[in-house]
Amino acid sequence: MNKKEENEKGGVKGWIDGDETAHYMLRRISALRSTLLVPPLHRVPLRLGNVIEIFGPSPSAKTQILIQVAINCVLPKEWNGVRYGGFDHSVLFLDLDCRFDISRFSQMLTHRIMEGNAIGDCDKTLYDLCMQRFLYARCSNSFEFLQTLKSLHYRLKREKDHGVSVQLLLIDSIGAFHWVDRASMFLSLKEHNRKKLFLQSVSEAVVQDIKKLLQVHPMLVIATKSVIFGNTYSTASEEVNGCSRNVTRSPQHIQYREYMPSVWQSFVTHRILLRRSDDQPVINNSENSSLYVLEWLLPRIGLPDKIIVKDNGVFVDS
């Protein structure tokens, strides 16, 4: 009896004392999942398991940013004495728009390798290594997308056995099948009433599959989303607090209608708006470039970044 009482007492005390301190827990977790700074999205530190949505009206440089992030991921930290500062992991690109151009990826990768190299030529072994780390799949409807997601677990496991681990999942245009799914008359052979729309079922299945995938293979997910409804302008002059410069033009707040189902909206942890800049870039002698404005909406950072897209890459213009 006494021993049982003692056990109970120890149990209650132990329960009050807790398992570990907050400091210890923070240390443990940050060792498991360290934060990443991913240029050109480096304003906000990211972790594996985050889901970032980049949206903006076409043409904005959404796919270009995905390519730049992919290149940063496949490059090693250091190669032949040159620091590239990459994450040294593989990338999986799911092309739902079916518009990806591999020659642009190859061009940007070659430029990046040549920049780092003292001689200025492209190291073939490094180039081949990086290209092989870029994995690609394309889907032309929602069912193919679900098929790919369901079979990804086994495919990624096979790749892992070969020593290749995927750290980045890029989805080009998550809303690509929106109209087709909305109009879909797919009826399963159920007898009773269908409670959910097909669009809803597909989105739930997609989010479930990605969540399960992230549990086994922790990855950073970046998805682009295009605007499919025309925008409504609402001009609002912004009060610029604490800024010494005078703002000559009142920036227009453009509202874009959200069309993804709420299950996807609550799955997304970070949101970025990307649009073409009104300013014209300074025309250099030999370089072609375009300017875009990148704005973090979730977490809300008041200062937008200027993104410059050149032949050799996508950079933040400071």
């Binding site: 009206p57 043409p59 591999i102 290209m131 799949a137 399963s188 499919i228 025309g230 375009s290």
Partner: protein
């Protein structure tokens, strides 16, 4: 996708016992299986007496799904495929070729946007004649009765000096003209019909390399889609997007270059914008804007969207005149 019943013969693990277990979760076909949450299915299988056979059945379904998909490609394989199969097709229009970096690329959907009489049909006919002359087959979807065989014969004859042979012995001009197949389509369902038939033909036939279809032109796709857009339902937009995916899939699998034309509508503030709306913007790979001043001979082309070209570029060239000149200027 097949219902589970039909898979029983080929995969004995999917027997009637497993099928009734799936039916209890309202899964009757592979599509239902894709929409269902896998983990709850496995958890429910655990509760049954024959859980091992059920789990084997689930694994069997997953492997069927896996085999239906193409394998993951890596960057090197993609690049190799792009270099070997996805060739550039010159259009014959120096201005457009300069902007495209050599010509229309096989596997990509190129869109020409412009107001009426800006040279879109001219560009389509010239591309058709150039590709046919270089040995490839062309499929031309004509939606507005603007296809003119005389004009094509004139274009071919102009640059290569072919003349029409007599009935007994078809001359080289005849051979070139035979390579261009023109379909008159007046609504989008007709176009879907023809495209599906084309898909079946391309999959089954093995054609010699010089008679392969290299170019598919739809002049103009906006006149097929605009009548069905509008209204409160999503069907119009869904048809438009499906047409885009079908064209891109044909382009990619059979290494065909697809060229479509679009017209302009009024936008905000009195400017014009391309028709077909926001959703269409993400369908073509490359978008080019054509314009021509009224009464002038000079045609203006600029890039609206290109996967590799970083800034907008302009090209000017003279058409309809005797002299064909080219002036390139870059605007960013």
């Amino acid at each position: 996708m097949a219902p589970l019943k039909s898979m029983e013969k080929e995969y004995p693990l999917i027997d009637s016992h497993f099928q009734s277990f799936c039916a209890s979760h309202a899964i009757f076909s592979l599509e239902d299986f894709l929409l269902y949450d896998l983990h709850s299915l496995i958890a429910s299988a655990d509760n049954h007496s024959s859980s091992i056979t059920f789990k084997q059945g689930i694994d069997q379904l997953l492997s069927v799904i896996d085999t239906q998909l193409p394998p993951l490609m890596n960057g090197l394989q993609l690049l190799e495929d792009a270099e070997c199969n996805k060739r550039l097709l010159p259009t014959g229009f120096k201005g457009i070729d300069a902007l495209l970096g050599g010509g229309l690329r096989a596997g990509q959907l190129t869109e020409l946007v412009g107001p009426s009489s800006s040279g879109k049909t001219q560009a389509c006919l010239t591309s058709a004649s150039t590709v046919a002359k270089n040995g490839g087959s062309v499929i031309y979807f004509d939606t507005g009765n603007s296809f003119s065989p005389q004009h094509i014969a004139h274009l071919v004859g102009q640059t290569s000096g072919y003349v029409i042979g007599n009935q007994a012995e078809p001359g080289p001009l005849q051979k070139v003209m035979e390579r261009i197949i023109c379909y008159s389509v007046f609504d989008i369902y007709q176009m879907f019909d023809v495209l599906q038939q084309l898909k079946i033909n391309l999959k089954s036939k093995i054609v010699e390399p010089d008679r392969r279809v290299q170019l598919l032109i739809v002049d103009s796709i906006s006149s097929l889609i605009t009548p069905i857009l509008g209204g409160s339902g999503p069907q119009g937009h869904a048809l438009m997007i499906s047409a885009g995916y079908l064209l891109k899939k044909l382009a990619d699998e059979h290494n065909i270059a697809v060229l479509v034309t679009n017209h302009m509508v009024a936008g905000e503030g009195g400017t014009s914008k391309p028709a077909l709306g926001e959703s269409w913007k993400s369908v073509p790979h490359i978008r080019l804007l054509l314009s021509r001043e009224y009464g002038s001979n000079v045609c203006n082309v600029s890039t609206l969207k290109h996967p590799s070209v970083v800034c907008l570029r302009h090209a000017l060239w003279f058409v309809f005149g005797k002299k064909k000149g080219l002036k390139l200027s870059f605007y960013c």
